[in-house]
């Protein structure tokens, strides 16, 4: 038995796939690679393959993570060599590491994601003079209460302000700077970058999601102000 943690990038070609589609795609790629995947027991066995933190549909990503279990010893190099050429355009493996069998799952570890949003609307878009005060205004808020529906169908009020760790601007190739966000996600609550965009004090015409290109730069374990790469947690030898 062995467990591999892998890192991958999602390009423009595949950014519209859902989490489930992407999981199925990896599953079939692994079947083509003929590596000995481990399956759950029972009448309807599933491969023990999980991708961390669903990527918003429409977003590209630089460093996503997944965990997979094998029935035999499979090393990171062998994994990368076997699976790389089984992936369609738009999906690239950028690294792999051995993980202890009993180490916590990615879902239990990853609690933060960084995003960038790039203006891609037809018009000139909001310049720095518009965006900077809008971001500041949002960060100055003490709380942001939103209504959310729980799995059982109840509506609860949640303060999403604590889930916004950082919101900054970076220069881009156009007059509209990139908006970069560090947000909480996972079991303890989270907020989507589109929801943050919606919070900004901007002209409503600038807010529709399709006017912004969303890119997830990375997934992290965020602990006391420090960002830890999921490879470092329980990861041993890293190949890439």
């Amino acid at each position: 038995m062995s467990r591999i943690r892998f890192r991958y990038a999602v390009g423009e070609e595949l950014k519209f796939l859902s989490h489930l589609d992407l999981t199925r795609l990896f599953h079939r790629a692994l079947r083509r690679s003929a590596l000995p995947m481990d399956y759950t027991k029972g009448f309807n066995p599933h491969p023990r393959l999980s991708l961390a933190a669903p990527l918003p549909v429409g977003a590209t990503a630089a460093a996503e993570y997944g965990d997979i279990f094998f029935t035999r010893e499979i090393g990171p190099d062998q994994f990368l060599r076997s699976v790389r050429h089984q992936l369609p355009e738009g999906l690239t493996l950028t690294g792999a590491a051995c993980v202890a069998m009993e180490a916590p799952s990615l879902a239990a570890l990853i609690n933060a994601a960084s995003y960038e949003m790039i203006w891609s609307g037809a018009g000139p878009g909001p310049g720095e003079e518009t965006l900077r005060p809008a971001l500041q205004k949002m960060l100055d808020l003490k709380e942001v209460i939103v209504a959310r529906r729980t799995k059982s169908g109840k509506t609860v009020e949640v303060d999403i302000r604590p889930f916004i760790f950082k919101a900054t601007l970076e220069p881009s190739e156009t007059a509209v700077p990139k908006v970069t966000l560090l947000l909480q996600l996972g079991g303890k609550g989270g907020v989507s970058p589109y929801a943050v965009l919606d919070l900004l004090d901007l002209n409503e015409a600038l807010k529709p999601a399709h006017l912004w290109r969303l890119h997830r730069r990375g997934l992290y374990i965020y602990n006391e102000g420090k960002l830890i790469c999921p490879f470092q947690e329980g990861g041993e030898s890293i190949s890439g």
Partner: protein
């Protein structure tokens, strides 16, 4: 001007399932358009998920793309939300592989599987910017070709197509491309090309034939070009083992309706159910050899990574020694977690054993198609199974662990009476009671009832569909008779859409303007209950002063000229007449002979 691909980037985030329009799937083939001599687009007039399940599409994709001098790219009907955006943003219909407008292809092929997708055909031509009517197309426009089961009566679509290809495409399509390349080299005009193609077996050029009507009724077909054959015979591949098979089919990003690998065990069917069009047009029965099947299975699983493989055909338990074949396939893929499935199982003990073999502990529901509930009516349609077969097969299945069954029936079959309809519920009750008493289980039974649609080239082609009010009445009768059968879930097909299907299945060219009118008034995806609007269709009929009943509910006489008489399915009209007569004799045969007729 933004490039098409760039424009798509703005469109896709706003539609429901953008993955339908991405292309770039595993095993998709993208060639340089300048590297080939002929470029063809294959259009499927339904959603991506439906079209990607179609075996014919996979086969043609392979047959063309394996050639160095040709390419074939796909397009599907955009969902209504996507269509709206495309029209607003002036994005023409494009191919998934190269994202180029379909207008720029040399040939456009439509896969015609279902009458209720005809408005989508017009819509796709329009979205592609290709003139709707063959007569309006110029030298620069692509040649519009149709194939698939519907071309055995393509008359309602005739003016929109330049060419129909009758029968199997594995040899006929490459031949079309060869000829196209040669003719293009010699600078043939469009008209010269069609004239040349008219002589090729299986190629039907509708513009060379003109229907004649007397007193508003179809009375025969006149040839406008003396070299066009009086009757066009279908093409068929003599040996399936000698033609290419798609062993590396495209693995769609989002699940297709049938999200699995497919092996066609054989083409055709030896059963001869009298309502079944597939049973006639895919004749004769041609089998793939077990060796070929095993090779295909091995290569397909390797190339796709699929976890399931369907052993497909019109009646899979009829493949000789199919149990042995399944066993060998399972042995070969042992340890690789491949599930096999067998659609279209016969109603007998052998088939249950077979299902038990492939399902290995997984117990979903088992599907059988008795089609009719009385022995008399089953004799009429040529479905030679008995009640005893049904009880025996379900009993075996229960012993093997199944508790859920799906049964398919039809209403509106020729000679049907109200009693035949009520018998569906009685039969189900008998079955439930029996399984309860003999096997001490409460079976879950779901019953699906469709309405008979008479199809061209079948022994029932002369028969009318029962009138729409009678369909509704019998569906009501059905519901009432099932009321006391609470444990059985009953579903039935929409009556109006079956009626419309019957209109087009036996219609003639007078329906072409109607199709255009209905499409212009907004009809699309008529096979989908959430889009189908019968009111719009009724308006279109009224506007054009046509009566739908004259198409769906007309009884033809043996001597009447039929709109598809100039198309030869390979089965002679005299044979169909004989079969039809036999059906009518069976309708009045005394009861009691059933046991002897079971298989």
């Amino acid at each position: 001007m933004l490039s098409l691909e760039k424009k798509l980037q703005f469109l896709l985030p706003r539609v429901q399932k953008p993955a339908r329009y991405l292309g770039n799937e595993w095993n998709a083939i993208k060639k340089d358009h300048r590297s080939v001599q002929v470029r063809m687009a294959l259009l499927f007039p339904d959603l991506y998920e439906v079209g990607m399940s179609n075996l014919g599409l996979k086969i043609l994709y392979e047959v063309v793309n394996r050639r160095q001098d040709a390419l074939l790219e796909r397009a599907f009907a955009p969902a209504v939300d996507m269509e709206e955006l495309m029209r607003r943003e002036k994005v023409p219909l494009f191919s998934l592989e190269s994202k180029v407008p379909l207008r720029s292809f040399d040939l456009i092929g439509f896969s015609l599987q279902y009458e209720l997708s005809y408005t989508n055909v017009l819509n796709m031509l329009d979205l592609a910017g290709v003139p709707l009517y063959s007569s309006q197309r110029g030298e620069e426009d692509p040649l519009v070709v149709g194939g698939g089961p519907c071309v055995f009566n393509p008359e309602p679509l005739a003016p929109f197509f330049d060419l129909f290809l009758l029968g199997d495409g594995e040899e006929a399509l490459p031949e079309l491309l060869d000829r196209w390349i040669a003719m293009r080299r010699q600078n043939f005009s469009r008209r010269e090309m069609l004239a040349e193609l008219a002589n090729v077996p299986g190629f039907y050029i509708p513009s060379f034939y003109k229907p004649v009507y007397s007193e508003g009724r179809f009375s025969g077909i006149k040839r406008l070009y003396e070299k066009a054959p009086p009757v066009v015979a279908k093409r068929f591949v003599a040996d399936l083992n000698s033609v290419p098979y798609p062993v590396a089919p495209i693995v769609s990003h989002i699940p297709a309706v049938h999200d699995r690998a497919v092996i066609e065990l054989f083409r055709g069917c030896a059963r001869g159910c009298r309502f079944c069009q597939a049973g006639v047009i895919y004749r004769p029965v041609r089998r793939r050899s077990p060796e070929n099947i095993k090779n295909i299975a091995r290569q397909t699983l390797q190339a796709t990574g699929y976890e399931e493989m369907s052993l497909s055909s019109l009646s899979s338990s009829d493949y000789p020694r199919v149990d042995n074949l399944v066993k060998e396939l399972e042995e070969e893929s042992a340890g690789r977690r491949v599930k096999y499935s067998l659609p279209s199982l016969r109603l007998d003990s052998f088939s249950v054993k077979l299902a038990d073999q492939v399902h290995q502990g997984r117990r979903g529901s088992l599907t059988f198609a008795p089609e009719a509930a009385t022995a008399r009516l089953r004799r009429v349609i040529g479905k030679n199974i008995s009640e005893a077969d049904l009880f025996c097969a379900t009993g075996d299945a229960v012993r093997a662990g199944w508790q859920a069954f799906k049964l398919y029936f039809m209403i509106g079959l020729p000679t049907e009476t109200d009693d035949d309809v009520k018998a569906i519920a009685s039969l189900c009750r008998k079955l439930v009671d029996r399984l309860r008493q003999e096997h001490r289980i409460r079976p879950r039974l779901s019953v699906s009832v469709s309405t008979f649609v008479p199809k061209a080239h079948t022994p029932f082609q002369w028969e009318p569909q029962i009138p729409l009010p009678l369909i509704l009445k019998r569906q009501k009768l059905l519901q009432e008779s099932f009321k006391s059968l609470r444990t059985v879930s009953l579903s039935w097909h929409d009556a109006a859409s079956s009626f419309l299907e019957a209109v087009f299945a036996r219609g003639d060219r007078t329906l072409a303007p109607l199709l255009e009118r209905a499409w212009r008034s907004g009809c699309r995806f008529d096979g989908w209950s959430d889009h189908f609007s019968f009111d719009r269709w009724c308006d279109a009929f009224r506007d054009l002063n046509l009566r739908a009943e004259l198409y769906a509910n007309r009884r033809f006489n043996y001597g009447d000229p039929l709109p598809w008489d100039h198309l030869d399915s390979g089965t002679a009209k005299s044979t169909l007449i004989k079969e039809h007569m036999r059906a009518m004799e069976a309708a009045i045969e005394p009861e009691g002979a059933e046991g002897a007729k079971s298989l």
